[in-house]
Amino acid sequence: MQPLEIAAEAARLRALFEAEGATAVDADILLSAETLLDLYGEDIRARAYLTTDPFGGEMVLRPDFTVPVVEQHMRSHADPARYTYAGKVFRKQEDVPERAHEYAQVGFEVFDGRDPAGADAAVFAAISKALDGLDVTPVTGDIGILMAAVQGLKTSQTRKAALMRHLWRPRKFRSLLDRFGGRTPPSPTRTALLAQEDPLADVGQVVGLRSRAEIATRIAALREDAATPPISGEEMALIDAILGLRETAPNVLSALRDIAVDLPAIGTAVQAMAARLLALDARGIAVDALAFEGSYGRTSLEYYDGFVFGFSANAADMPSVATGGRYDALTARLGDGRAVPAVGGVIRPDLVLALRGDA
């Protein structure tokens, strides 16, 4: 495919988003890596190209637009605001080397706290419309429901915080849940440690920056955790039920309403989902056929914490043609505590062209 064709398709898509009221913005290709390293840690090195500037420290080739666009928005104090952009992003593909290392993205981001369900629907509908006529199927999910379920567990704040911290790492989340639910016994070293009256009694001079007080604090936390009763089998089953949801959105909604009887903490999130489905319906989306998966969007390095969606090609083996979601928490992290509810999505124009060529 010719770069000029892709650029023309990107311009067409961006014009569609401008027609939805978005302001066109741009971002540097070479960005300071500080924010991304702070958000994602070492994992970003496996996903993005990092390099070093003699004066500016670590720099990164733009792996996506969301972070720089959020930073621009948080500086502008505009509210509400809609943005669109088109440009290349750069990704290492260590697991699937044959995938593109640089490709164009066209995005649509909505910063608007007045009507979250309406904003979710506006983004989804705009992207759906832009992909009109292509052989693609959308999938949706909602990380906010899982978050609400974790917060609603009858267990200690420490355990909830640990689960929330690993929400985007499904394997680790599962192993923590099994431990907190008493399905995995504590390690023998842990049991031996807690059997001692004062595990720090015979410890000499502490080496390194992590202090004796920090070690003592963690031992106290471990004692508290050992005395905390396991998460009940019923609650474990409810979490499993949420993660296992895989149905049309209306059927999932009905299942979630049943789950909410036993886990009232998810009530608000379930209501938000109901409002979103109404808003999507009002925008002409065929909600009855819309797929919903309870685990969708839980891959690491993502920042979505509410509605999530993706459009994948039905016939072709290719990455998702479009993806997006809500990222309220990211705006709080980048806005020094000042959060703006935000939702957005991106389309890959190269894949749109490839699909149109297939059609």
Binding site: L37, G41, E42, D43, R45, A46, E94, D95, P97, A162, R165, H166, R169, R171, K172, S175, R179, S187, T189, R190, L193, P199, L200, V203, G204, Q205, V206, V207, G208, L209, R210, R212, E214, I215, T217, R218, I219, L222, S300
Partner: protein
């Protein structure tokens, strides 16, 4: 010619020469001791290339050598998706060393990777930066910690005297190769977990890069038969 890359000095070279010698293939340095030229007896069509063990993975991946002896840790560290680029022909049974994570012995509360993860979260909250792990094995350590679900750490590069970084407060933990663990203990460190990140040993590798000639393939077959691998 089938080019065989072998570490150019030290115990690794001597042991490699012994290993091939025991199997009827004599490798030796030709010319003076300082010269990195080699000769092969006992089989035709094999050329000995002497180079640094750290360069063997790259040369194999690039196809400039077809066979190479180096540590299995170096191949995994230096090549992404290593097993799509090179193939293990034979583990050689020497040069064994474990890549491990070590933390201060005084961290009585940290014995598993789950402990390390929890300690890292608390450390970051208390100190405002991620828990630092000093290493030169960036890829191996990063992939291992990702698979184990450890977050809130950062790697700091250390090309030598890694065990000293904790005492010097430039890192809180280390990830390094150890064969006995003595240096660790002397520096007040203990090994984390019950299995290493990688148990390394000297290994004969074959490059997967296309473009082998029929002659090279035939020579490789003959060499395999001779070596019994």
């Amino acid at each position: 010619m089938l080019k065989l890359g072998v570490p150019s000095k030290g115990r690794l070279m001597d042991k490699t020469f012994d290993w091939f010698g025991q199997r009827g293939v004599t490798l030796r340095k030709s010319g003076s001791d300082r010269e990195y030229a080699g000769a092969v007896d006992g089989i035709d069509g094999v050329e000995l290339v002497l180079l640094s063990a750290g360069e063997v993975p790259r040369e194999l991946a690039a196809g400039r050598i077809q066979l190479g002896v180096t540590g299995s840790d170096l191949v995994r560290e230096k090549l992404s998706a290593w097993d799509s680029q090179v193939q293990e022909v034979a583990p050689m049974g020497f040069g064994g060393a474990d890549l491990i994570i070590a933390v201060p012995q005084t961290w009585v509360d940290v014995d598993t990777l789950d402990d390390l993860d929890a300690a890292a979260a608390a450390f970051r909250a208390a100190h405002g930066h991620r828990l630092r792990i000093a290493t030169k094995y960036h890829r191996l350590v990063r992939e291992f910690l990702k698979a184990e679900g450890v977050a809130d750490y950062q790697l700091v590069d250390s090309q030598g005297a890694t065990e000293g970084t904790v005492k010097n407060e430039t890192a809180e933990a280390i990830a390094d190769i150890t064969s006995t663990g003595e240096t660790l203990r002397a520096n007040g460190l203990k090994i984390l977990g019950d299995r290493p990140i990688h148990a390394s040993q000297a290994t004969l590798f074959r490059g997967r890069r296309a473009g082998w000639s029929n002659a090279q393939r035939a020579t490789f077959k003959a060499l395999q038969a001779k070596l019994g691998v």
